[in-house]
């Protein structure tokens, strides 16, 4: 393995361990290769010096003497000069061999320290002998063409001046053949290049810009060596051809070449942009698109589903920008805490600590962008003293849209880690009340820390599930809902989103968002003097989690969209693929990383018009339908019909009590101000209305079921199954007394949330006995209907 250390050859003051080792190699080599001119051996430095000398001499000569030889030198000249060179090379081949070894070793030793000139010469010498060489070296060659030529020039002249040189230093002769060899190589290369460049000059030009010199060199060299395959490849790239199926299959087996894929993406997009002109005959647009999609997936490592979503969302030109923007991080931004300091003072203090910063933009009076910093920006004494908060630019926007006023009561439904909440507090100047809620207790620790650090004193921090909210507390002047989302806008922060999100994830979060948004709307007091506003935002950019959710809320509640008050950002979609949303959705705002240099974000601002929850049969029907559909589907799969019906009756009761309970609750809420007091009556009316309508619902039930997507339903079904198990034994008693039963059933509910809900349900139940009884009766009706449906179902199966 290692070379044996030669004790005789050991030098006490060697240049270093590595060098010593290589000297050992030298001695070994000398045994193998018999060399004749030992005395000629020179150290690399000596050779370099010589080379330098040679160069300077030659330069001066050129300067002094006429420029003819230099001028006269050209490729043609090199041709007639060749024979001489060859001769020389043959003469000195062994010699060179030996020196080469030494040189190479020296190169390793010296690394970058080498004088460029010497480097070139060595490399060229190598070329003459063997073909293996690095691209870098090759590059350098080309850069230094002039120098080489000059040396050659000198070489050409040296028939006359050789003696002189020899007298000066014995080195000159040794160098020259190397140069010659190099020149020969170069000339060859040039010829080859010229030939080729004639052929595909145009094609190469655009590619060269992108691929960088390395590749060009590589390619050219390969071509020079007669590698046709690459040539073909380049042709293909020049005029983009769609690879066939088998070709793509083959690709899957071969190791990936990202460079080619990148080029193919570009070409593909180019073709798609001018499809009628550049398309290949007989190829469909969809074929191009599917290739593009798979290429983008490989190149940026997204999963197919998300890439499909993004391709739907952006035009192709923008898509690449977006994907590229996701690869780089957004600038670090901070928000001044105006409760403790002013932006100018803070900027000054931070600049004194060696932070390079700038105001965020004219739209924000508190934001600062950090370009670079000599200190950790999250641990300066200013940070600890609460003078600023590390916060993305995009998370300032929803609070600005909400624009909470002094003295108002505001709810932040999902507050962690408290950036937006503290911003609200500073806008309200620590007056009024802020309720900061988050479902995750662990994340609330950071909320508490940030609140205290920034000196917010008007906050209540609690740990509820947002969906319980109007029951806990209602009647807020403003509500901010920063809904949990799939995070497709913050891929640069969390690249795992690229691969681990699929259809079910998006729909699941969309479903949760709808629930949260409705309960957020219910928590707002429409009759507030100053407010009655709600801001919904997500850090996702998919339509399912944004426009769709907003549109859903518009249908479900008496709310309207109002301008967000943000003068930039893209308008939300009013139509997307097959979906058509409410016209006013153009008042919502979307923010993209590639356009606004902030995280992808969506902001919508609602104004609540009326506190009553719409009780129109149309809307309640919709609400009831999904539940019913599921109910039907559960038993169809696994349980006998009898159980089903009871289960269903139970469920429908719960469903109906929900709105009643919701409207009843605000009475208790401190901020209710009585405006909600009116609603219970209506709610009961609604409940009755519902119960009077089961027939319609059931007719629609089964049809709906078929149309429904599987994802969310499954989840619900699972939940339901749990309920069924829990309530199985109770079911029989059910017919006796509806009211008590309901209580029992809810107690048994497995889900923690349900438990929470049940407490309230129980209370409301006690309040209103009559509606419950009625419902129970209706449940029997439903039972019959359901049975019918079930029978139908079974027959169909």
């Amino acid at each position: 393995m290692g070379r044996r250390l030669d004790p005789t050859n050991k030098s006490k003051r060697g240049p270093g361990r590595k060098a010593r080792k290589q000297k050992g190699a030298e001695t070994e080599l000398s045994k193998i290769i018999a060399t004749d001119d030992e005395p000629k051996k020179l150290s690399s430095r000596a050779r370099k010096r010589a080379a330098k000398r040679a160069q300077t001499v030659q330069v001066s000569k050129v300067a002094i003497t006429e420029k003819k030889p230099k001028k006269g030198f050209s490729d043609e000249n090199s041709e007639w000069l060749k024979p001489v060179k060859r001769k020389r090379k043959i003469e000195q081949s062994e010699d060179e061999d030996d020196s080469e070894w030494e040189q190479e070793e020296d190169m390793e030793e010296e690394g970058q320290k080498m004088v460029k000139k010497a480097d070139d010469q060595e490399d060229d010498g190598d070329d003459g002998e063997e073909d293996n060489k690095d691209n870098e070296e090759e590059e350098e060659d080309d850069d230094d063409d002039d120098d080489d030529e000059m040396v050659d020039d000198y070489g050409a002249m040296d028939d006359s001046g050789e003696e002189e040189d020899d007298a000066e230093d014995s080195d000159g002769e040794e160098l020259l053949p190397i140069e010659k060899a190099a020149r020969k190589q170069k000339a060859k290369k040039k010829e080859a290049l010229e030939q080729e460049s004639d052929e595909d000059d145009d094609d190469d030009d655009d590619e060269e810009d992108d691929d960088g010199d390395d590749d060009d060199e590589e390619q050219k060299e390969d071509e020079m060596e007669g590698d046709d395959s690459l040539q073909v490849n380049m042709d293909e790239m020049g005029k983009f051809k769609l690879p066939g199926v088998e070709q793509r299959e083959k690709e899957g087996l071969l190791p990936l070449d990202l460079q080619t894929i990148h080029q193919r993406i570009k070409d593909n997009i180019d073709v798609l942009a001018h499809f009628s002109e550049k398309r290949e005959e007989g190829k469909q647009r969809s074929e191009y698109l599917s290739l593009l999609r798979s290429d983008l997936c490989t190149y940026y490592s997204y999963n197919d589903y998300l890439m499909g979503k993004l391709m739907d969302l952006f035009p192709l030109s923008e898509l690449v920008d977006f994907l590229e923007a996701n690869e780089i991080h957004r600038p670090v931004t901070i928000r001044t805490n105006t409760l403790k300091t002013r932006r100018r003072d803070l900027a000054q203090a931070l600049i004194n600590r060696g932070v390079n910063l700038d105001p965020l933009g004219k739209w924000s009076k508190v934001g600062l962008v950090i370009f670079d910093s000599s200190v950790p920006i999250g641990a300066t004494p200013e940070y600890l003293a609460g003078h600023y908060m590390l916060q993305g630019a995009s998370s300032l926007l929803p609070v600005m849209a909400l624009s909470p006023q002094e003295g108002e009561s505001v709810l932040d439904m999902s507050a962690a880690p408290g950036g937006k909440t503290t911003y609200m507090a500073q806008l309200m100047k620590n007056t009024g009340i802020i309720v900061a809620n988050d479902a995750n207790a662990d994340r609330l620790k950071s909320v508490v820390g940030n609140m205290h650090r920034l000196g917010v004193t008007n906050a209540i921090i609690c740990n509820y599930d947002g969906r319980q909210f109007p029951k806990v507390m209602g009647g807020f002047d403003r509500v901010l809902l920063d809904a949990p989302c799939a995070g497709t806008g913050v891929i640069s922060k969390d690249p795992s989103v690229k691969t681990n999100k699929d259809d079910a994830d998006i729909l699941r979060s969309a479903h949760l968002q709808k629930e949260l948004l409705l309960s957020a709307i219910d928590s707002v007091n429409a009759e507030s003097q100053t407010g009655g506003y709600l801001v919904y935002c997500t850090c996702s950019i998919t339509v399912e989690e944004n426009e769709w959710v907003v549109d859903y809320a518009l249908k479900k509640r008496h709310v309207k969209l109002v301008p967000t008050g943000l003068d930039f950002g893209k308008e939300g979609f009013t139509r997307f693929k097959e979906r058509r949303f409410h016209q006013s959705l153009n008042l919502t705002r979307r923010f993209y990383p590639h356009l606004h240099n902030m995280d992808g974000f969506f902001v919508a601002k609602f104004k609540k018009i009326c506190n009553t929850i719409p009780t129109a049969p149309t809307s309640t029907e919709e609400e009831a339908e999904p539940a019913e559909a599921e109910l039907v589907s559960v038993p169809a799969e696994e349980s006998p019909a009898a159980e089903v019906k009871k289960e269903k009756a139970l469920k429908s009761q719960q469903g109906k009590t929900q709105p009643a309970k919701q409207s009843a609750k605000p009475q208790k809420s401190p901020q209710g101000k009585g405006q909600r007091g009116k609603s219970p009556g209506k709610a009961t009316a609604k409940a009755n209305g519902l119960t009077a309508k089961p027939a319609d619902e059931k007719k629609q039930g089964p049809t709906k079921k078929k149309g429904k997507p599987d994802g969310p339903k499954k989840a619900k079904m699972a939940k339901l199954d749990g309920a069924v198990e829990g309530e199985g034994d109770k079911v029989k008693k059910e017919k006796k007394e509806g009211v008590e039963q309901e209580g029992d059933a809810t107690k048994k509910d497995p889900g923690a949330e349900k438990k929470e809900g049940s407490r309230f349900e129980k209370k409301t139940m006690k309040k209103k006995h009559n509606p419950m009884k009625k419902k129970n009766r209706m449940g029997k009706n439903k039972f019959k209907k359901l049975k019918k449906i079930l029978n139908n179902d079974e027959s169909m199966v």
């Binding site: 620790k445 000196g455 209540i460 806990v472 401190p670």
Partner: protein, 180 residues
């Protein structure tokens, strides 16, 4: 959440008075509304009455924090001030210590204050007097207890401790968990 008992109030006020003396009454009688102390999960919160009323809506197990946390009662019923109380101690502090920029860092890492880091100190600070620590730019950094009185501070060598560390704003990063 409940009001403090007499005993608890006494313990806490004794502690507070070490730092802000008779200024405690400024905390209670505020022109902008009634403020009070409430105990929740062994922690003492300082809240406006208005917010307190609203907070009653929230069940005990779900309530994480209200207003400003001043500190907590230990298992042995002593009161320990938290760094979160600094916002209310700093304006009313009777005895102050200012740190040189070089000493700031060390204090924010939880170390005692050496003579070398001491910039200024209030005249006639007694030994074991509670002091609030500021940077030279008058940013409150934490609080502690004077290890020596002002006169002694002038004489001692640079490496001797002049203020014992109790709490500093570095705790917001170091032990965020402790705050709740």
């Amino acid at each position: 959440m409940r009001p403090l008992t007499d005993e608890e109030t006494k313990t806490m006020f004794e502690k507070l008075s070490k730092y802000i003396g008779e200024n405690i009454k400024l905390l209670i009688d505020r022109p902008d509304g009634t403020y009070c102390f409430r105990l929740h999960n062994d922690r003492v919160y300082y809240i406006s009455e208005k917010i307190l009323k609203l907070a009653t809506n929230i069940s005990r197990d779900k309530l994480i924090s209200i207003g400003t946390c001043f500190g907590k009662f230990t298992k042995t019923h002593q009161f320990r001030l938290h760094i979160t109380a600094l916002d209310f101690l700093a304006p009313y502090a009777k005895f102050k210590v200012w740190l040189k920029p070089g000493g700031e860092q060390s204090f924010l890492y939880g170390n005692h204050i050496m003579k070398s880091g001491l910039g200024r100190i209030t005249e006639n600070t007694a030994q074991y007097q509670g002091v609030v620590v500021y940077s030279m730019a008058d940013v409150p950094l934490g609080f502690g207890v004077a290890a020596k009185n002002t006169q002694e501070c002038r004489r001692v060598d640079p490496m001797s401790i002049v203020v014992f560390h109790q709490a500093d704003i570095g705790e917001y990063i170091r032990n965020e968990d402790m705050l709740t």
